[in-house]
């Protein structure tokens, strides 16, 4: 299997504090990779570095062998990385359907003039977009809410819609930032099933940040544990979770 993401020596400091220090990771195609660690360990900062929100001080990021270090968020998305956010960021005043169609923005194109004059191409492509978006919504069981405003969805569904929107950009690598945060056990179980579908049916490579250990041990194949910005442990999920250093970092020294 080929490598989708390769990160070498990624480092960034904020005013003297090394938020991420010498971070390395290799994710293979089709893999479901977990990034865990205590609060403030620098997990979301890693996501922000991967998606170009922050520019790294040192280190290189390769997506399928292509160097994407220092590129803008938009370019990185076009190159093939999509993400969700820890604090949900939906287009609140757009419909559920339009949220996903916004994700299809670069896959289906027509010119501004076509849109304003409503040439036949406008209707054809809009129809295709709607169909594609509805297909995606069906996967997430959101098709019945397609015409709702995104802000009117219940919390769990908002999280799912965010994943659907990211998936709409057809990424090579999907980054999920605490997808189960704030969900009840039932919702978490449903989410685990959905993520499995993404992996098995959509053949997506996924990197996810999560605190819910049940979810992590249940679906992740490999793990990296971050602590104070640096890698504490890396490897197969079962090995990592039994590592004494990891247990110490999570439960304290006592």
């Amino acid at each position: 299997m080929s490598t989708v993401l390769e990160v070498n020596n990624l480092t960034i400091s904020f005013g003297g504090l090394r938020a991420v220090d010498d971070f390395n990771v290799k994710i293979k195609e089709g893999e479901l990779y977990g990034l865990i660690g205590p609060n403030g360990a620098g997990k979301t900062t890693v996501f922000n570095l991967l998606t170009g929100v922050y520019k790294p001080d040192e280190g290189k990021i390769f997506l399928e062998g292509e160097n994407i270090t220092g590129k803008s968020t938009v370019e990185i998305n076009k190159a093939g990385i999509a993400r969700t956010f820890q604090n949900i960021r939906l287009f609140k005043n757009l419909s559920v359907l339009d949220n996903v169609k916004a994700g299809l923005h670069n896959s289906f194109t027509y010119s501004t003039i076509t849109g304003i004059l409503r040439l036949p191409k406008y209707f054809n492509i809009e129809k295709e977009m709607t169909e594609k978006a509805m297909d995606l919504l069906k996967v997430f069981d959101l098709d019945n809410e397609a015409s709702y405003l995104a802000s009117n969805l219940p919390y769990g569904k908002q999280r799912k819609l965010e994943i659907a929107r990211a998936l709409a950009t057809d990424p090579k690598l999907l980054l999920l930032d605490e997808p189960a945060a704030g969900m009840n056990p039932n919702e978490t179980q449903e989410l685990m099933d959905t993520i499995t579908i993404l992996k098995n049916d959509f053949k997506k490579t996924i990197l996810l940040i999560e605190h819910d250990m049940k979810l992590v041990s249940g679906i992740c194949e490999e793990l990296t544990v971050l602590n104070f910005g640096s890698v504490l442990c890396q490897g197969r999920t079962s090995d990592v979770l039994n590592d004494p250093e990891v247990i110490k970092a999570y439960l304290g020294d006592d």
Partner: protein
């Protein structure tokens, strides 16, 4: 020689801008909103002085004091009625539009009461001019009082903020409203106090402005208000010394461009300064950067 007298005029006008800018910058720093109506409070204050002096024959000093009290009360009232209910609102656009509404309200209220005609404001300051260099430079009493007032206000304000409990509370609220509340600081009270001080300063600014430029209309406050905001941005919004420096520089730029380039284009030049500053250094001379967390 002429240049020096222009420079002095510039510093004088700049001092007025600085006093107005202090109000802007404090409110912006602490309540995180652009109080668009700040300029119109200047106008209200000037009308109060005008009415008391020309209408009722009250002495200048008493008129000014009453005007300060009136403006302070107005500032607190406006904050309580129009701005406080919007604290924590999802849209910052809503707050700005409300402030524009308040500005519009004050202007049209003045228009209804006093009419659109220009009122001749008689100077509050009775002081002989100083004549230097054999009559080549004349410094008017207004100029001297304006500059001295500005310096005193600046020093008092800095002392107040750094040395008193209420001032420290202001700093805390400007850093983080939520954390300040948890520390037992009365956030609403602190913001009210900020508006009170800012509006009181606006009354003083109005008195100084109209003493030097004695025509008073319902729109008197809006242009100086906007220019003072430019000054506050120039100096770095939220910074008190910044507002002072920004105001002085802006006043000098305005007077010099009036004198040497074109009197009609001086406003355009002032606004050009704002645009350049925001593009080159959006945080202004002494401001600090705030970034949105992802």
């Amino acid at each position: 020689m002429r240049f020096i007298s222009y420079l002095i005029n510039g510093i004088s006008l700049g001092s007025v801008y600085a006093i107005i800018a202090l109000g802007y910058t404090m409110v912006y720093g602490i309540a995180k909103m652009l109080n668009f109506a700040h300029g119109d409070i200047i106008m209200v204050g000037s009308y109060v002085i005008f009415c008391l002096m020309s209408g009722a024959g009250v002495s200048p000093l008493v008129s000014v004091l009453i005007s300060i009290v009136a403006c302070t009360a107005l500032g607190i009232t406006v904050e309580a009625i129009a701005y406080r209910p919007l604290r924590g609102a999802a849209s910052s656009l809503a707050v700005l539009i409300t402030a524009i509404g308040v500005s519009y309200f004050l202007q049209n209220m003045a228009l209804l009461i006093f009419g659109a005609n220009t009122k001749q404001f008689s100077s509050v300051i009775k002081m002989d001019p100083i004549i230097l260099a054999d009559g080549k430079i004349t410094i008017t009493g207004e100029t001297i009082v304006t500059i001295v007032c500005c310096l005193i206000i600046m020093i008092v304000l800095l002392t107040f903020i750094n040395k008193t409990k209420a001032g420290q509370a202001m700093l805390a609220v400007s850093e983080d409203q939520g954390a300040a509340r948890l520390m037992g600081i009365n956030v609403n009270g602190t913001i009210s106090l900020t508006f009170a001080i800012g509006s009181g300063l606006a009354a003083i600014a109005g008195m100084l402005l109209c003493s030097s430029y004695p025509s008073l209309t319902p729109y008197t406050g809006s242009m100086p208000g906007i220019k003072a905001f430019v000054a506050a941005v120039f100096g770095g919004i939220g910074s008190i010394p910044g507002a002072f420096i920004g105001g002085i520089i802006l006043g000098i730029i305005e007077i010099l461009s009036k004198a040497y380039i074109s009197s009609q284009l001086s406003d355009a030049i002032v606004f050009m300064v704002l645009i350049i500053v925001l593009l080159v250094k959006p945080t202004g001379l002494l401001g600090k950067m705030i970034q949105e967390k992802v």
